[in-house]
């Protein structure tokens, strides 16, 4: 039986499971041992089970118009508890800073006056929404949900790759990956203490309820989806289902009397909080693109009136502009008076002439990204690009230096991943999800680990053919349980169970009867056939 980890290559990147000496790292000790006990065939069997269970559940992803099961890898991503104790505060710190920045941008713009961020950067951002100026969110929260993309470089240090504070997606895969993995690897779950993720929907709903316009009793929360053909529709329906709220499309909503309503069989019903999964541009044809059919005319006016809360808020895109990203460490120091816990990836701002010159010179060894892109669109990896592509890029950078940033190629860390040849290192990133309810920023333990399936590929986005791994954060404190009513607790042993009835014809006495009936049959069978009696039935 070939060992799964035979011929596992060591590369330039940091491998999360196998250290340079070839042994497992501390966090992976258990997982490695459990996997090493399995043969390649068994591991493939489990991988098939995972894929099948995703097809049955309908955990699918829309790729170029085709519905496919979302690829989940059998090998989990494991994070040690101590590591998470650094990452979670790091993520939450970043969210707090961006939250303060957004309040400032759409308010007094103190940071501009104090010279922390240039005004030109803000007003030139394609995602800066003038329409959002003056919209005050009821509990001050604009970034209800965020996904901060983290990577680990070749030295094993964590870096922030980008911030997503518009409509970050992927959390449904975290929830369903966990369910599927627990059923596929029960033995690992039994021996490891993996922090649960099932709390997410409850936390999200609590944050959305907390964001409701003031004075509203039992706010009506809805999830707004672009529709069933959206690539993340599965996620929208899962969130609505687990929160127990309506999933609405733009045409289900209408605005009247300065409020937002939804059409129901019992007439109109007021809507107080909209967790919208529709981009700004499509949200309200009055304020944004007038040809949009996905939103509802008047939403923004209602938000301005304070009769409805949009989550996440309109105009958040200015905070995940990739050029603004380079200022986030300064923003953390400026707004929070704290040092950034997780560092940025070094980035060149191309508007600075010296930086532009250097980048143009070294274009074939850098990664260049459009500032307003998401999902890996438009990104160019220098070492992998052809000469013609680089030449075209050079022209574009010179024409529009504000539209691009450049970074050195980060060798993302690798995790063993099941591919055709067995387990091979594949690059991964990590997107922890944070929920802000106005009092605190809660970070879901783990998050979405995306993995680039082609060898050497560094772009992990699922829209670029990436897969995912279940992310396990080990150990930690026992959470506080909700108190159990005094009358409810009864010592198990002192309480005998009520007997479970059975028909008197079944169980032990039935055996006697069965034997007698069989004897009868034998006797009948021994009789001469001439007796003419009826055949036993």
């Amino acid at each position: 039986m070939a060992d799964l980890f035979d011929d596992y290559p060591t590369g330039a990147a940091w491998d999360e499971m196998i250290d340079p000496e070839g042994g497992p790292t501390a966090a992976y000790r258990h997982v490695h041992a459990a996997l090493a006990r399995l043969s390649t065939g068994e591991v493939r069997g489990r991988a098939d089970t995972l894929a099948r269970s995703y097809l049955t559940q309908g955990v699918t992803f829309d790729l170029a118009g085709e519905e496919r099961p979302f690829p989940i890898d059998v090998v989990p991503r494991v994070l040690a508890g101590e590591e998470w104790e650094v990452l979670a505060p790091g993520v939450s710190q970043r969210v707090r800073a961006l939250e303060a920045f957004l309040a400032d941008v759409y308010g007094p713009q103190r940071a501009v006056e104090d010279g922390v961020v240039p005004r030109a950067l803000i007003v030139s951002s394609t995602n800066f929404a003038r329409q959002a100026i003056g919209i005050e969110p009821p509990n001050g929260v604009r970034v209800h949900v965020s996904g901060i993309d983290l990577v680990r470089d070749s030295l094993g240090d964590w870096r922030v790759l980008e911030d997503n504070v518009r409509v970050p997606s992927g959390v449904s895969y975290v929830l369903s990956n966990r369910r599927a993995m627990a059923q596929t690897f029960p033995e690992l779950f039994a021996s490891l203490r993996i922090r649960p993720v099932a709390d997410y929907s409850r936390r999200l709903l609590a944050a959305l309820v907390a964001a409701a316009p003031s004075g509203v009793d039992e706010p009506n929360v809805v999830v707004l989806t672009p529709g069933v053909f959206n690539s993340a529709y599965f996620e929208h329906s899962l969130l609505a289902r687990t929160m127990g709220v309506e999933l609405v499309e733009g045409s289900d909503l209408f605005c009247a009397g300065g409020r937002v309503w939804m059409r129901t069989t019992h007439g109109r019903r007021r809507v107080d909080v909209i967790y919208r999964r529709v981009d700004d541009d499509f949200l309200d044809p009055v304020a944004f693109r007038s040809d949009s059919l996905l939103g509802s005319p008047g939403l923004l006016a209602a938000a301005r009136n304070g009769t409805v809360t949009l989550a996440n808020a309109v105009g958040n895109g200015v905070a995940d502009d990739k050029l603004l990203y380079t200022y986030v460490p300064d923003l953390i120091r400026y707004y929070l008076s704290e040092e950034p816990i997780i560092r940025n990836v070094d980035t060149w701002r191309l508007e600075e002439p010296a930086a532009l010159a250097e980048v143009l010179d070294r274009l074939d060894e850098l990664v260049v990204k459009p500032v307003d892109g998401s999902g890996g669109k438009g990104l160019v990896v220098g070492p992998k690009a052809s000469r013609a592509e680089l030449d075209a890029l050079r022209v574009r950078l010179q024409e529009d230096p504000r539209g691009w940033i450049a970074q050195p190629v980060v060798q993302l860390s690798t995790v063993p991943t099941l591919v055709e040849d067995g387990l091979r290192p594949r690059h991964v990133d990590l997107r922890p999800f944070a929920v802000n309810d106005g009092d605190s920023v809660w970070v879901l333990p783990g998050g979405l680990t995306r993995v680039a399936l082609p060898e050497g590929q560094l772009v992990v986005n699922s829209s670029q053919g990436g897969g995912s791994k279940d992310t396990w954060v080990l150990g930690g404190q026992v959470p506080k349980r909700s108190a159990v009513r005094a009358g409810l607790v009864a010592p198990a042993a002192a309480h005998p169970g009520v007997p479970i009835d059975a028909s008197p014809h079944d169980g032990a006495p039935a055996l006697v009867q069965m034997q007698q009936q069989q004897q009868q049959q034998q006797q009948q069978g021994q009789r001469p056939t001439t007796s003419g009696g009826g055949a036993p039935c």
Binding site: Q183, G244, V245, A490, S503, G507
Partner: protein, 308 residues
Amino acid sequence: MLSRIAESLFWIGRYVERADDTARLLDVHLQIILEDPWASEDLACRSLLTVMDRPVPDEGLVGRETVLDLLAYDRFVPSSIAGSLTAARENARRAREILSTDLWESLNATWNQLPTRVRPARAHDYFTWVRERAAMVNGLVDSVTPRDDTWRFLVLGRSIERADMTARLLTTRALAGAAGPGWTTLLRSCGAYESFLRLHKASVSEERAAGYLLLDRLFPRSVLFALNTAEAMLLELDPVLERSRVEDARRHIGLVRSSLEYRPLLEVLDHLPEEMEKVQRACSAASDAIRSRYFPADLTTQWIGEAL
């Protein structure tokens, strides 16, 4: 209808429902033991065994395997899943001439497939299969059985068993205390999670969840709904009402039903294990009363030679 046939129908209803409910109960409990690192496997398994009326070993740790062996795969005890599917099929064999071929074949095929289905790599697959088979049987009961006494006895058995099992399920929460399954788990195991969320949003409070599983008038797996159905079936079986007394089975069920229905919920919650025990005992007593009323053939005549 022959008493013997009626009895078989009654028990088919009970056994199929029992297999279904036990599968649901075990499925979510095992899932929670896996997903929640702070759940104590030993305590959770012990409370499961207690509630399901199994001897609990005094010493040593009780693990998932023990629970699965006893409650899921044991084919010789009619209170485990495999055992109750076997018993359901035996009862169907006795009532073969009354049952539709569809229904019989569905029960028989379940029994035939049983050996290949027990002990799969993932226990979840077994539970899914059991639930699918039970849904199939129940679907056939609803779609091809005429609404005569055949149907009434099947549904009567099903409802009594359902009330009993839901009560046991609620007891698992009470017995294990803080280590027991959360309300979310309980709702899930009854397939009630989504409908509960639609009604109450994501705030799963104890009062609401317990209220839903105990007293919801519209959810077919709530204790109240099951008891009401059982009562309705009994009334249809014997529509003659005496002026001053109620027939025994209906009295047991009606008494416990009204004591749940017409008392403040908090009062019931304060003594949940005791209240749930009352429900279970009432179901058992009603089952006995139904037997002595409708299936009295059980009396065996003793021949004593000397007396002659």
